[in-house]
């Protein structure tokens, strides 16, 4: 029985004030276990991004509690949230979101830098991660000098840098050709097999199908589902 990495209790997110209140997410109760491979699907505007932001500690719920590795993050301040993001969560974005002025190695090292990791340890780990995503020959390349698939692989390496509990991937293959996309998913699944929790937000059914568990969102309501 593996432990829960994410638990949400009656989590709601609303925008505006009554009577013009809009529910982006309603009374959500979720349990996500260590090592899960989850796909979150739903049409645009359904609340996918809201859920992502909440699970990724980029945003706070209007009501309810979110526990990440047992920490109630709904009560934390800005800096404590930054620490949770740094230590527990690895983000992968649709548009890769690498820092344009830094090369591949520096991008991977960056979040370890924020975590205060010693620079030698950092460089060694970043090289290892880039080797894992088969980018050993691109260490000193800037994002603008790499293909989409390559940039996304750097982003995966960066997400793994601080050995997080959860990888949150928002449409990770949305901007990449099918073949490279497949490669990206293979890497993620490889990481998952090593015990990492992966949550992928997508509206690509082929991608969602690969997950062990599917959560479907419609109008801010989350339901267990299947593709």
């Amino acid at each position: 029985m593996s432990k829960d990495v994410i638990v949400t209790q009656n989590v709601s997110k609303t925008y505006g004030k009554p009577p013009l209140q809009v529910f982006a997410l309603r009374e959500t109760n979720l349990q996500i276990k260590q090592g899960d491979y989850i796909a979150i699907i739903g049409p645009s505007g359904s609340g996918k991004s809201t859920l992502m932001n909440l699970l990724g500690c980029l945003d706070k719920p209007t009501s309810g509690n979110i526990f990440i590795d047992g920490n109630d993050v709904s009560t934390l301040n800005e800096n404590e949230l930054a620490r949770i993001r740094r230590e527990k969560i690895g983000f992968i974005f649709q548009k890769y979101n690498l820092i344009p002025t830094l090369n591949a190695l520096e991008n991977v090292e960056l979040s370890m830098g924020f975590a205060g990791v010693d620079s030698q340890v950092r460089t060694a780990k970043a090289k290892k991660l880039l080797e894992m995503v088969e980018l050993s020959k691109r260490l000193t390349h800037k994002p603008s000098e790499m293909s989409g698939g390559e940039q996304q692989r750097v982003a995966i390496a960066r997400a793994l840098a601080n050995s997080p509990s959860i990888i949150l991937a928002d449409e990770p293959t949305g901007n990449i050709d099918t073949k490279s996309g497949d490669n990206i998913m293979n890497i993620l699944e490889e990481v998952n097999r090593k015990g990492e929790t992966i949550i992928v937000v997508t509206h690509n059914m082929a991608i969602a199908q690969r997950a062990n568990r599917v959560l479907r969102i419609q109008d801010g309501v989350v339901q267990e589902g299947h593709v």
Binding site: D59, I99, T101, S111, F114, N162
Partner: protein, 404 residues
């Protein structure tokens, strides 16, 4: 951590090279202005101090409460000192030497024209000291023991009589023949006005006029540090002799020096104040550049926050960026200031040489002004990047990541 922030800041500045350079130039110009004006002011201080401090053991006692105004003019209105005053002054402890400047008028005749001139008699040693800084157009100072010799000012030589007077010429004063030993250069504005002076030794003066109207007393002290207290003692003693509270005013060279230095100090402050305006403009430039940079990097800031940067990390990155800009600008400004002060000095020198001044001005860049410039540029960097940094730091990561 700090090193990472510096590295990030450097990369960002490099990435926007031309904009960084232009912003930096603003700071450099401001610092250059401050450095060169400070150097010039310091040079002036030193030049004036050098000139006056050779006379620092001299006290000048003049009549009237208005203080000492025209050096060597002797045109006092409050009566004359007496021999008793001189004797009293000589008795004051610490006084090394006392001499009196006598003044009166005489009837002078040259080349058939007669005119009334004011005459000044003084000790030869004092005369040489007092007019040491003045250029002579022709001739030389007469010496101790020389009789019937005079020094004359430029306008006596050229404008007073029908013909120009030259060195060696004979002028009859009160029927007595005097030989011109030296002619002072044209004084023009400022400094010791000697254009219409006729100088002779005290002995000649008394022999000629039979008077001893003492208009000024010069004394020199043993120890420069006692000058102020001796000045007070002398002043009190003379005032007591004359039964008036403000009959005499004793002025030390030190206090004149101080006054001059104060004036230069104020001048310097005003100049630096004006130069600071350039710096204010430059700091607005930094703020502007940084704000633009924050806007452009909204997405980047969001990413950094998403991967775990704290508010402090973001603030620190931007403040370091501002400080790098301004301190680099400061260093360039200091280098430019070294050249700028030389250029300013050359310009000023060419102005002064028109007035015939003899003093040598050269810019002096002190460690203090360099340290000050560096400190000011760092402060400017921090202050002007504070607001952009704060704006960047409080950006929400979701908004920032979503930003297209």
């Amino acid at each position: 951590m700090f090193r990472d922030h510096v590295k990030l800041a450097v990369k960002n500045l490099r990435h926007r090279m031309s904009r960084s350079l232009l912003t930096l130039l603003g700071i450099a110009i401001g610092i250059m202005a401050i450095i060169s004006l400070l150097a010039l002011g310091e040079g002036m201080q030193q030049a004036v101090t050098g000139e006056l401090s050779s006379l620092s053991d001299v006290i000048i006692v003049s009549t009237g409460g208005g203080g000492f105004s025209s050096f060597g003019g002797g045109g006092s209105t409050g009566g004359y000192f007496t021999q008793r005053d001189i004797a009293d002054v000589e008795r004051v402890q610490g006084v090394r030497e006392v001499s009196a400047q006598l003044s009166g008028v005489g009837l002078a005749e040259y080349n058939g024209k007669t005119t009334i001139l004011s005459l000044t008699g003084m000790d030869v040693v004092v005369m040489k000291l007092q007019y040491a800084s003045q250029t002579l157009d022709a001739g030389e100072f007469f010496n101790e023991g020389d009789q019937n010799k005079i020094m004359i000012g430029y306008s006596i030589a050229h404008d007073t009589f029908d013909a120009d007077v030259s060195v060696g010429a004979r002028i009859k004063i009160n029927g007595e023949k005097f030989f011109v030993s030296g002619i002072f250069g044209k004084q023009g504005f400022g400094g010791v006005s000697s254009d219409s002076i006729v100088l002779m030794s005290s002995r000649d003066f008394q022999k000629l006029t039979g008077q001893s109207n003492i208009s000024l007393i010069y004394l020199r002290v043993e120890n420069v540090n006692d000058a102020e207290s001796i000045a007070t003692t002398v002043q009190d003693a003379i005032n007591e002799n004359h039964g008036k509270k403000d009959f005499a005013t004793a002025t030390t060279m030190t206090s004149i020096l101080q006054t001059v230095q104060n004036i230069i100090g104020i001048l310097q402050l005003v100049l630096v104040g004006i130069a600071s305006i350039a710096l204010v403009v430059a700091s607005i430039g930094i703020m502007n550049t940084m704000l633009t940079s924050v806007m452009e990097r909204t997405r980047e800031i969001g990413i950094m926050k998403a991967i775990g940067a704290t508010t402090r990390d973001i603030m620190s990155i931007f403040i370091i960026e501002g400080m790098l800009l301004s301190s680099l600008g400061g260093v360039i400004g200091i280098i430019l200031g070294v050249f700028g002060s030389q250029a300013l000095t050359l310009i000023l020198r060419s102005f002064m040489s028109m007035g015939g001044g003899s003093f040598q001005l050269s810019p002096i860049i002190t460690i203090t002004s360099v340290v000050l410039a560096v400190a000011v540029s760092l402060i400017v960097g921090v202050l002007s990047s504070l607001y952009p940094a704060w704006k960047a730091a409080r950006m929400s990561p979701i908004e920032a990541v979503r930003y297209e």
